[in-house]
Symmetry: C2
Subunit: 304 residues, 2 copies
């Protein structure tokens, strides 16, 4: 089924305890598309870039069956740029530089042929931009998922809540769930957030895994204990990509498929962090993915 | 099979965001014995108390089949006392007062009839005291498990490592695993710690669950997302108690049983935090425990 991803396509400079890379490919939509591309075809991206974004990277996406014609190229413009440095624990990072560049004027135009996309993933963006996307859809997607972050809770809570009320699935991290709900207990936070509109809530806990809630069920997807995390950048978006790609490939939305989807997303995220940027995601085989999924099964399987 | 628990039997004053209790029952061995008592009989405690420790609490333990004759009562002495206050997030706490009292002179004497105990759990104590226990055993237990904490890593690392080299199973939290191994990655930390001697390592991550490692396998036991945590005190010891109780009841030690054991320990810990002190552990039915175990199965079960 068709999957539309709206989000940043960016250039990152990243320093981690394992090394440093300059001006590599990043952005939520990039990671989402790569993560999804192993599970479904007919993926479309809506985003904005400048002339500095490498054409070769768009070609690679196209080769994976991703339609990049919705990525608006601004002549003479520069792509969204982020530079950051991760601390030793890899859970905290300092933003060294943010240049909005062309993203500052991002007013997404959804091409007509994307307006009936069956699956929609809204990457982390200004809530008003996420809203503008929803307003342009001609038929309601079977599932609308969105990601967001604490920055929008601090600066645009009302608009954020309006968007949240219109989606089916929200992904946020544990601290954001606490901020959004005002509840410390994640079980209570989930109950409060599901009352805001979404049918499903995924609380991402990084190296501690992810929790999936609906009004009647809770499921926990572990993170694989990794020997080495090279670069955490994009792990959350790759998770979302693997999840939405799995759902679009499966074509049916219910709790059991959601469970499989977030295990799949967790597996893709575990690859993402093994190299800088999207490097590891570029080289995966179907067998790599199946082996990794088997590790997840083994990690939590028990019989009483 | 017989289970010997050596650890503190104490009096606590606890403040959490949910309330405050004065001079309630606490101590590692207390929680271990209560946690284990639902899964095995023939539990023995070696500890030390003062005259202020309520006799009625010892009677309750006896009624659950726990042999308390190894708890040395110091005439005119006062029990180990700890007062603490938990912060809103319940993961951090301030120690308001610690009175070692009779614990300062704790030189454990293992009664002859305990010296062939099949299962041994060393609660968190000075490494020299843990060592003194090991030296008194007449036959090597089928499994020796120990708990410890960062304080001993800071003050008695050499002696601690000697004790660790003599046990089969070590339980520590994630930060302690990092400190003990010098590795940030828990997978690397586990490899390093298993080289120090133990066959099994359990890394406790509180609300994020627990990881079990041996040299060939890794297993993750989730924590249940709870609506309300009343009092985290003793959760780690109750976990250890449920785990060792399960193993002693099962009577066979292999990775599959270890997995069941730490799920059982996690279930018991999830009860422990629902009320202050050991209050919740006192009132459980077999059905409560089975229902809780089912929740754990449901929480992580998926089929690809």
């Amino acid at each position: 089924m068709s999957l539309l991803a709206v989000g940043t396509v960016a250039i990152d400079t990243i320093e981690t305890p394992q090394g440093k890379v300059d001006r590599v490919v990043g952005g939520a939509a990039t990671y989402i598309a790569w993560g999804a591309s192993y599970f479904t075809k007919d993926i479309r991206i809506v985003s904005i870039i400048g002339e500095d974004f490498p054409q070769s990277e768009l070609e690679l996406l196209k080769k994976r069956g991703v339609d990049t014609s919705g990525i608006h190229l601004v002549k003479g413009g520069k792509s969204f740029f982020w530079a950051g440095k991760y601390h030793q624990d890899l859970n905290t990072r300092d933003t060294l530089e943010t240049q909005l560049n062309v993203l500052g004027d991002f007013d997404p135009v959804i091409p007509d042929e994307y307006k009936k996309s069956k699956y929609l993933m809204l990457g982390n963006l200004t809530p008003s931009v996420q809203k503008a996307v929803l307003d342009q859809m001609k038929t309601r997607p079977e599932i609308i998922a969105m990601d967001t972050m604490n920055f929008w809770m601090d600066t645009a809570m009302d608009e954020l809540k309006e968007v949240i009320s219109r989606v089916d699935l929200l992904t946020i991290n544990d601290e954001e769930a606490r901020q959004l709900s005002g509840e410390h207990s994640l079980a209570k936070a989930a109950r409060a957030i599901l009352r805001m509109g979404p049918r499903y809530l995924i609380i991402k806990k990084g190296e501690h895994g992810a929790l999936l809630f609906d009004n009647n069920n809770v499921f926990f997807a572990p993170a694989l204990p990794l020997y080495e995390v090279f670069d955490p950048t994009g792990a959350g978006d790759t998770f979302a990509g693997g999840m939405m790609g799995y759902l679009a490939g499966a074509g049916e939305i219910h709790f059991e498929n959601l469970k499989r989807a977030i295990i799949t997303g967790s597996a893709m995220a575990s690859f993402c962090v093994e190299k800088f940027s999207i490097d590891r995601l570029k080289e995966l085989s179907q067998e790599d993915i199946e082996d990794r999924l088997d590790e997840f099964v083994k990690l939590v399987h028990f019989e009483l």
